[in-house]
């Protein structure tokens, strides 16, 4: 409703979002980087997202997911990670050789461990 109102002029003011790197949750990022070191190679070109099978059916964006991991935005990540089909197309298009499938798998694992307080 309010969004509609705000959109009356064809643009909206974004909700204020401050990412505080000092207080953000680094556990998932550290776990993913440790288990899949190639994660660090990503330069966010978005090739994976363009090739993505899931992206044609739902809002899934591996590049955005990487940002969430780096920023420690756990709640957003939780929704994102469940949608991937692990088909591996992103693996083939990645120009940096990031093991993208494993990034998704390890992230899912990290979140599960986070819930169990094992991280």
């Amino acid at each position: 409703m309010s969004e509609q109102k705000a959109n009356r002029f064809g643009f909206a003011i974004n909700r204020s979002r401050a990412i505080n790197y000092d207080t953000s949750d680094r556990k998932v990022r550290e776990y993913v980087t440790l288990r899949e070191p190639s994660f660090r190679l990503c330069f966010a070109c978005g090739g994976c997202t363009a090739a993505c099978t899931t992206g044609q059916h739902a809002s899934f964006n591996l590049r955005r997911m990487n940002t969430y991991i780096r920023r420690g935005e756990i709640d957003n990540l939780r929704e994102e990670v469940t949608r991937c089909m692990l088909c591996g197309k992103c693996l083939l298009v990645c120009p940096r050789g990031v093991n993208t499938r494993n990034v998704v798998a390890v992230t899912a694992e990290a979140l599960r461990k986070l819930d169990r307080n094992e991280l």
Partner: protein, 632 residues
């Protein structure tokens, strides 16, 4: 006579291992499913029994499969297994025949020479003595090879040999000691009494000439008995347990029991039947091309057997299936690894000793909690079609294959519907390979729904990964065909007219199409129809993996590139004009690894299609004139 104390280590060991084997087999039998129990019972009283006996003779004793791989390696295994078997059989006959009474205890046959030192002076007895000496020499020759193999594996066609645990090492030492100590014990006794065959007699006489043979003999008889006893006692906790378990495995397999997709007693029998021979290590491309030597099937099975944390080993495998092909015991290594992947992480605490070695050990089946959910998928509308074409995710990354397939099907007049033209849903196999079967089921249901609703009779796919899962895990009425099969069918029924390309090509069998689904001949028939197909060093069931496999979740892109370069190098050794494959993933992987042009089989066929007749200008001018004239 039985008052000799030195026979007791052997006796205790023998009775222990006999009782243990019976108890263990009973426990395994009891934990089989009802259907498998019935299979085993029926198999025991029917043809499978005879097959098993034959297989035990050919494989467990003669080691025919290892012989085929490498004659020296085969001889080594045969001399130890078959030689020892003959030594026991003839030793028993000898003791029964020449001993004081019939039906002796086993120790009497094993230590026959000690109890009958003067035996073998003349007649049949001396022939027998020579024969027993020959058998001992036969085993010792194999033992010599085994010792050489441990230090120079390359001599027997083995690139690597298995690393062993300390219990394995003790058992191995005691096994190696058995036969030399028997030789020396018999020789000393023969030296004292002037008896024995060509080996023990001569060696005995030589030793007795400068050593106090009568004093030395008991020591070596003790060593002989102790090494036998140690070996038997260690058997259940070492790789040598494979000797009795392999017999059980052969009976189970011939009765029709398979690994299926859950951990069962049969899986456990398989893990114990592995002899850690290391043949899987030497064929593994991870080892020979990428220098990774810790995740091969021998180590995977050993980790399972010893309840180690093997999550990293389990995940780090291309699932290409080459080790399945060469395993001399016939263990279903791929399915076992998938079961382990499905199981997910093990509980944090390791099993207690009593649970690990106790007889009640049984692994819990832990189901992973689902990590993915595809509730966002919207069921598609019903669209009828006779032939459905499913390109698959990977094929969408190689659009030239899709273009080629469209051309071919149009040229043959096939009326098809392109199921995932706007981008479909993954077939589910990548998830299954990652051990997420439950999640994969959601995708399978989604795709099945579309295929069922279409009423299609034939489902053609361009991707072997999809092909395998469509055939094995979907319940479809449509006949599933890989495009190489479909093109072959079109050629055979004469609806596709093709020219001949004067090109020398080689064909690479994709893992999931060749070993995975047994499709070897159709692609070759298609290629031979349009070009000159050359043989490659490792093909058909021993075909190389391209390295791009989705079976491995953790392998880095650098290592993948090494495997791809090695495989492409082997395939293009004859400098062909083109490297043909039948999988979009292999095509993409090889394209980066070789200078040779890499094409899909569909692209090759599309090039051989007759060129469409182009209208010449004069004709179109004539048409225009005709149209104008008609109008007038």
């Amino acid at each position: 006579m039985s008052s000799e104390i030195f026979i007791w280590p052997f006796n205790l060991g023998l009775y222990f291992i006999l009782i243990y084997s019976v108890v263990r087999s009973t426990i395994w039998f009891r934990s089989l499913s009802r259907a498998d129990k019935l299979r085993l019972q029926r198999g025991f009283f029917g043809m499978p029994f005879m097959q098993s006996i034959r297989e035990i003779f050919m494989e467990s004793l003669l080691h025919r499969r290892i012989f085929k791989k490498n004659p020296v390696l085969g001889y080594m295994h045969m001399s130890l297994a078959f030689g020892w078997f003959l030594l026991i059989v003839f030793g028993t006959i000898e003791a029964d025949f020449f001993g004081e009474k019939h039906l002796n205890p086993p120790s009497h046959a094993i230590f026959f020479r000690w109890f009958n030192p003067e035996h073998g002076a003349s007649g049949l007895a001396s022939v027998f003595t020579q024969w027993m000496d020959f058998l001992l020499a036969f085993i010792l020759s194999g033992l010599l090879l085994a010792i050489i193999k441990r230090f120079i594996p390359g001599m027997m066609g083995m690139k690597k040999t298995t690393k062993h645990t300390w219990t394995d090492r003790i058992a191995l030492t005691s096994l190696w000691l058995i036969f030399p100590s028997r030789l020396l014990a018999e020789s000393f006794t023969c030296g004292v009494h002037g008896s024995g065959g060509f080996l023990t007699g001569n060696l005995g006489a030589a030793l007795a000439s400068f050593l106090p043979a009568a004093d030395m003999a008991p020591w070596f008889w003790w060593l002989y008995s102790l090494s036998l006893g140690t070996f038997f006692f260690l058997l259940p906790v070492t790789r040598y347990f494979h000797i009795p378990v392999e017999l059980l495995l052969i009976f189970m397999r011939n009765s029709g029991i398979t690994t299926a997709d859950r951990w069962s007693a049969y899986s456990e029998v398989q893990t114990h039947a592995c002899s850690s021979c290391g043949i899987c290590i030497s064929v593994c491309q991870m080892s020979r091309a990428a220098g990774i030597n810790d995740m091969q099937s021998a180590y995977f099975i050993k980790g399972l057997r010893n309840e180690r944390d093997i999550a990293a080993i389990t995940a780090n495998c291309l699932m290409c299936g080459r080790c399945d092909e060469v395993c001399p015991v016939g263990i279903e290594l791929g399915p076992l690894r998938l079961i382990e992947r499905r199981q997910g992480e093990r509980p944090a605490t390791r099993l207690k000793f009593i649970d690990r070695y106790g007889l009640t050990r049984r692994r819990e089946q832990i189901e992973r909690e689902p990590t993915q959910s595809y509730s966002y998928l919207v069921p598609e509308e019903e669209q009828q079609a006779d032939v459905l074409f499913f390109a698959g995710c990977m094929t969408h990354l190689t659009p030239s294959v899709i273009v080629a397939m469209k051309k071919i099907m149009d040229s043959a007049g096939v009326r098809y519907r392109f199921m995932d033209e706007q981008g479909g849903v993954c077939c589910g196999r990548p998830l299954m390979l990652a051990g997420r079967d439950r999640e994969a089921r959601e995708l399978i249901n989604h795709n099945s729904d579309i295929i069922w609703k279409s009423g299609a009779k034939t489902l053609v796919t361009s991707c072997p990964i999809c092909y395998k899962v469509f055939r094995e895990s979907y319940y479809l009425e449509a006949q599933v065909m890989h495009h190489s099969e479909f093109i072959n069918l079109l050629i055979e029924e004469g609806s596709l007219r093709l020219g001949y390309l004067h090109r020398r090509v080689v064909y690479h069998d994709p893992c999931d199409l060749g070993r995975g689904s047994g499709i070897y001949d159709e692609p070759r028939a298609v290629i031979s129809y349009v070009a000159e197909l050359q043989p490659v060093p490792e093909e058909r069931s021993m075909s190389l993996c391209c390295g791009g496999s989705l079976g491995n979740l953790t392998l880095s892109s650098e290592k993948r590139a090494l495997i791809a370069a090695d495989a492409a190098g082997t395939l293009t050794r004859s400098a062909p004009d083109e490297l043909i494959t039948a999988c979009p993933l292999c095509k993409k992987t090889f394209a980066q690894a070789t200078e040779t042009r890499v094409s899909d089989i569909a692209e090759l066929v599309a090039v051989a299609l007759p060129k469409p007749v182009r209208r010449t200008r004069s004709r179109s001018l004539a048409n225009t004139v005709k149209v104008v004239a008609d109008g007038l």
